[in-house]
């Protein structure tokens, strides 16, 4: 138990950040207010850097968690990608009001500033993801998933002072509340099936059900499917993906990038934990049947439908933001293959891919956030035409991130896809991997457009009026992202080893657990006989 408190220190650091930022955001001095994003970034980095020191092997050994080590990897990665996201949000909130205050046209009124609140919500949402890492019961998982989502609804509404953002926020919120209701009902059924809300105990109960009745009982299967469908909202997967394009279009680009990474990371981690209570075939001991067939079928369909709808949807778009939104749906589809494949290449691949996707997607959105036309965001594909003449660095960032999203070999996105696809093939889901391959081919249709348009074509008349945004930080985030896309593949092995180490304890524990029930099985039949004889 005490280890769990140690693991909470990064979250505590982030919470101190929340308090500090909320006070700074209301300060009368403009310098304090403008230091809010900087303070946010400092606390994000502090939490990420503290993590490796807190997750010592002895503590991870002693912690009673389903995946004791996952936080060691996850908190660091989410922390550093969030730094890029926070850089993109600089200069986004209160820009007009702060300019008025600076020019002396308006006096400072604490009721009118939102910057502090925006970054509080930012930190709280990241804190939610960190909390999921140490979730060991359904209550904790539910609260952490909600802590990730609730702040994002407000962030969308605040992100820009337009009607579109408010409509997007309401849409996102209502569908999100519905999805929460769905996975909550799934949790209730899982509790009904097992009689416990603790994930590690649930795993034992499911293992016992498999050993005694030859399979997980119906209530458990239905509960798991309903929970997965609800959590699918967070990762923007098939039955729950319909909000994505509208919400990403309505929110400011920086917030769209946030929505594409933070809730997705939370959703995938939640799904890994939930599926981990049932275990995968081959990895969970000799005689285990792995995930029950209906659940594999559900995930299979989610994966196939999600990536197809995402890629076909993206082909039809003329707005870059909607295109990237659909591409976010498609990437979720690829990652679900990793969930089906299970521990080893599958789950490690998902963790790896989340990092890769976070970086390349952030870089792509940073281009949109870093440029503007008459104080408005650029949105359509035509705006990007011939970008290299006026903004060569942004054109290159766009091309690199689109190439990486497509999965061009030496780049980061390719490495991520490789692990997941190989994981799928290894576990015998070859048709699904073929569908994914075909989808990658479809996605070339729009990614090549995004690569070619800024670099090769001539600027359109409307592209001439594009200027760089006031703040240079979003563009810096884009450049950092592009550099990481090129440099990180060199360190792929190290990063993959890190994902492997973060799932290690989980695998061993699972195998040991099921192995033990298998060993008990032959001894069991004589026991009732003895009992009846007595």
């Amino acid at each position: 138990m005490i280890e769990k408190l140690w693991f909470l220190i990064p979250e505590i650091i982030l919470f101190i950040g929340v308090c500090v930022v909320s006070i700074m955001g209301l300060s009368h001095h403009r310098t304090w207010r403008s230091a809010v994003p900087g303070a946010t970034i400092v606390f994000l980095i502090a939490a990420a850097l503290a993590t490796p020191f807190l997750y010592t092997p002895e503590k991870m050994e002693a912690a009673e968690l389903l995946m004791p080590r996952v936080g060691w990897y996850f908190k660091v990665i989410v922390g550093f990608v969030s730094v890029l996201l926070a850089l993109m949000c600089i200069g986004l909130i209160d820009r007009r009001y702060e300019a008025e205050v600076k020019a002396g046209r308006a006096s400072f009124d604490p009721m009118r500033v939102n910057r502090g609140e925006f970054f509080i919500f930012f930190l709280l949402s990241v804190m939610g993801v960190n909390l999921i890492c140490s979730a060991n019961d359904l209550i904790w998982l539910f609260l952490a998933l909600e802590l990730v989502s609730l702040p994002t609804y407000v962030m969308v509404a605040m992100s820009r002072p337009s009607r579109k953002a408010q409509e997007a926020a309401v849409k996102y919120f209502f569908l999100g509340a519905m999805a929460t209701g769905v996975f909550l009902y799934g949790f209730a059924l899982l509790y009904g099936s097992t009689g416990t809300i603790v994930l590690t105990e649930m795993r034992d109960v499911f293992a016992a059900q498999v050993a005694e009745e030859g399979g997980v009982n119906l209530l458990g299967i239905v509960g798991m499917i309903v929970s997965l469908l609800g959590v699918a909202y967070k990762i923007a997967a098939a039955p729950m993906h319909f909000y994505v394009a509208d919400v990403y279009e309505g929110a400011a680009s920086a917030v769209s990038a946030f929505l594409a990474f933070v809730p997705k990371a939370a959703g995938f981690l939640g799904m890994i934990l939930l599926l981990g209570t049932m275990g995968w075939a081959g990895h969970a001991g000799e005689g285990s049947t792995g995930l029950p067939m209906p659940i594999v079928t559900t995930l299979w369909m989610i994966a196939a439908i999600t990536m197809t709808l995402g890629n076909v949807g993206a082909l039809l778009q003329t707005s870059v933001k909607r295109m990237l939104a659909y591409s976010s749906v498609a990437h979720s589809g690829y990652m679900v293959i990793g969930l089906i494949a299970g521990p080893g290449l599958g789950i490690n691949g998902v963790l790896f891919y989340l990092t890769a996707y976070g970086i390349m997607n952030t870089a792509a959105f940073a281009v949109l956030a870093g440029l503007e036309r008459k104080k408005a965001e650029i949105e359509t594909v035509d705006d990007l035409a011939g970008l290299r003449f006026k903004h060569p660095s942004m054109a290159i960032v766009m091309a690199i991130s689109a190439a990486s999203l497509l999965g061009v070999p030496p780049l980061l996105g390719f490495m991520g896809k490789l692990y997941i696809f190989v994981g799928g093939v290894e576990t015998g889901h070859i048709p699904l991997v073929i569908i994914a391959g075909l989808n990658s081919a479809i996605s070339a249709g729009y990614y090549l457009y995004l690569i070619g348009l800024p670099i090769l074509s001539q600027p359109s008349p409307q592209a001439e009026t594009i200027t760089t945004g006031e703040a240079r930080w979003p563009r810096l985030a884009g450049v950092i992202g592009a550099v990481l896309i090129i440099v990180l593949p060199v360190f792929t092995n190290y990063l993959y080893d890190a994902t492997e180490r973060s799932t290690e304890g989980y695998l061993d524990e699972q195998a040991r657990q099921i192995g033990a029930t298998d060993a008990d099985e032959p001894d069991e039949p004589p026991d009732p006989a003895l009992a009846t004889r007595e």
Partner: protein, 118 residues
């Protein structure tokens, strides 16, 4: 488990309710959940839509309590307290957002908002 036993006794003494078992409660919660999700998908008034999501939350809460009683385990009831808390927080947020929209256009009809389209 003292309370659970006494609850059982009261149940037994009340003749008409003595045949209540887990299935009835789960059926109730399933019906509530179905009403919630169908209402959410068919109604267009934003307040009613939000009430439908609340109905789904309460369906989950009823199922939690029923299963908790069935397994003689208190964690289901603990979960319900958290569900209620989050539902309250969510309704505060929902009303804030709805008021925000209502100030722009004086209607609660979700279909009046169509700026985000393909």
């Amino acid at each position: 488990m003292m309370t659970a036993d006494s609850l059982h006794l009261t149940m037994a003494t009340l003749e008409p309710f003595s045949s209540l078992e887990l299935g009835h409660f789960i059926l109730t919660s399933a019906i509530l959940f179905a009403i919630g999700i169908i209402g959410f998908l068919t109604r267009r008034n934003m307040i009613v839509m939000f009430l439908c999501t609340e109905l789904m939350f309460q369906a989950a809460a009823i199922a939690m309590i029923a299963f908790g009683r069935f397994h003689m385990d208190l964690s289901g009831q603990v979960f319900v307290i958290f569900i209620l808390t989050v539902a309250a927080a969510e309704s505060a947020l929902a009303l804030a957002l709805v008021v925000l929209l209502f100030r722009r256009k004086e209607t609660l009809n979700a279909e009046a908002w169509t700026e985000l389209r393909e």
